[in-house]
Subunit: 374 residues, 2 copies
Amino acid sequence: MRVGDLRTPAALIDLDALERNVARMGATAAHLGVRLRPHVKTHKTLEGARIQVRGQFGGITVSTLAEAVFFAAGGFSDITYAVPVAPAKLAEAADLAGRLDRFNLLVDHSDAAAAVEACARERGVVLSVFLKVDCGYHRAGVDPEHAESAALAARLAASPHLDFRGILTHAGQSYHCRTADEIRAVAAHERDVMAAFAGRLRAAGVRVDEVSVGSTPTLAVAADLTGITEVRPGNYAFFDATQAAIGSCALADVAFSVLLTVIGRYPERRELLLDGGALALSKDPGPVHVDPACGYGIVCAAGGEPLPGWRVVSLSQEHGLARSAQPLPTGSFPIGSLLRIVPNHSCLAAALFERYAVVRGDLVVDEWCPARGW
Amino acid sequence: MRVGDLRTPAALIDLDALERNVARMGATAAHLGVRLRPHVKTHKTLEGARIQVRGQFGGITVSTLAEAVFFAAGGFSDITYAVPVAPAKLAEAADLAGRLDRFNLLVDHSDAAAAVEACARERGVVLSVFLKVDCGYHRAGVDPEHAESAALAARLAASPHLDFRGILTHAGQSYHCRTADEIRAVAAHERDVMAAFAGRLRAAGVRVDEVSVGSTPTLAVAADLTGITEVRPGNYAFFDATQAAIGSCALADVAFSVLLTVIGRYPERRELLLDGGALALSKDPGPVHVDPACGYGIVCAAGGEPLPGWRVVSLSQEHGLARSAQPLPTGSFPIGSLLRIVPNHSCLAAALFERYAVVRGDLVVDEWCPARGW
């Protein structure tokens, strides 16, 4: 089967690009002297994760408990669940921990610590925990400058029911950068905040085995990760239009795209109607801080070559509109022709599909099915 | 089971509100003297569609061929596929048409008309078609003022392989309105454009049985639909934060919400971390033209009462952040507590779930599973 035979909307994974991206990140981690525990949330597939851990120690990072269960069933035995766990999900998390070599939970609040500890005590198990640290993204995590944060780490480390692994952060603010230089500054800050906090904890007698950081943008530019033990990038497997815009990758590195069919043609407004909308591309606004007119993705020919001057200007539920800056040549892009869209945010677009067509060039070589739900 | 027992993120359908919304739209259609062919894309469930057609003639509207197949298997026999059909899907569409009393396709281009006609001729069947008209939304549809548009209608009507049903439009520009008065003007324009075009076609000898319009906002305010035969609203079954903001409904009418758990608490930034992000709520920007600070949904208590001053200020893949305008009272919203979020766009948020918990008050009374894919 060839790309042109797929029913649209179709999610395409360019396996050559994915393998190159994975090899490059592996080389980066080796060069920086850190373990690579890839995040698998971007694709949520066993096949993709198996490629990501090639040559690595085998640990992965997930974003939902459903993913953890899915990847555990698929043979992964060292998993970090990198979102603070809801108390109501602790029983299932503890069950899963009992079946794995290691299942790391995140904690960033004393009430959550108490809940995890109570669950471990009641079940007679030891649960692995990381203290989640806020290095400036201000999403989750404790403030490393607060005395309470060190006290919480000490409490986790002292509990007989917990195995305190260390500290963990995600510099999500790197996505708001405009240039590789700006990202470099975020990467250095992420490293410095974490290395310093680990140092203070150790000086206070708290054992800190792991100092875990990572976002795809910061890993794409990081030059020195002294003091860091582990990195957890995920989006790099696919990349997307946002990563290309902020300088994490080249457009040719992007391994994920959505194949759509032209179902309407309006030369007077230089627009094409596509058979995929917000439920095929997501409404992620994309890198508007770099390019306010970015629209909802990069328009490419069916073969993958970008089409200059084209933008996806609007998405409703099942309709997309692409607009050209230039007049449409007569006979171009007829109804029924195919386009590939590189979405703004591959994690969100991929999650809208029940299966991905895995391609090498024009050939469909496999089909991967992602985990869903929570 | 009660709402508090659900695993989060959970999609909730308030059945009482849904039934009230459906009854109100049925009364509106009866009062206006038009047939109601509800769109089912907002929920994509058999159960929801069966409620929507209660007391109506039984026809429905869908947005994908996969929905058409799903609802046909569920017993619906009169379906309009209200997105221009891709040529590559025509064979399957024709097969489906053969199993239904009526399956209406949309055409807005002479090339598409040729493709539908060729498919019908090759298979020896007659395919029902509507001419899609642009009444100002500028998404799909022919310009009713162009001579070519009338010529295309005449061509469809003259084909022995096609059953030309009439003309169809969607005034999606109503979503950009700020007030009910503005929507009223769009509704009147939608009606006038369609009635006038139908009149011109009939004067030219083209039989036009159906003049089909409809969006939830325009139906919520329309006072007179003279010249219109059929309406196709869909979002009214659920409504959402956008519809409430532009005046299509009251907040209490919204029948869809997403139940989330508080998994982080940051009083210094007056924020709560929630266990659902863009994959539970969608990144639809919402009614920013009415309220630039609307965020990603309306924050309500677990019981559904709105919490004044709260906004969902950011969404990443699996994290949501809600922020309060006021300081968090000590002990309020502890980790593990539940919140309900009314999303900006219920069609997009609902599509992210594999099942919906159907509730009456606090009681979970059913589970509905939607169609997916294309």
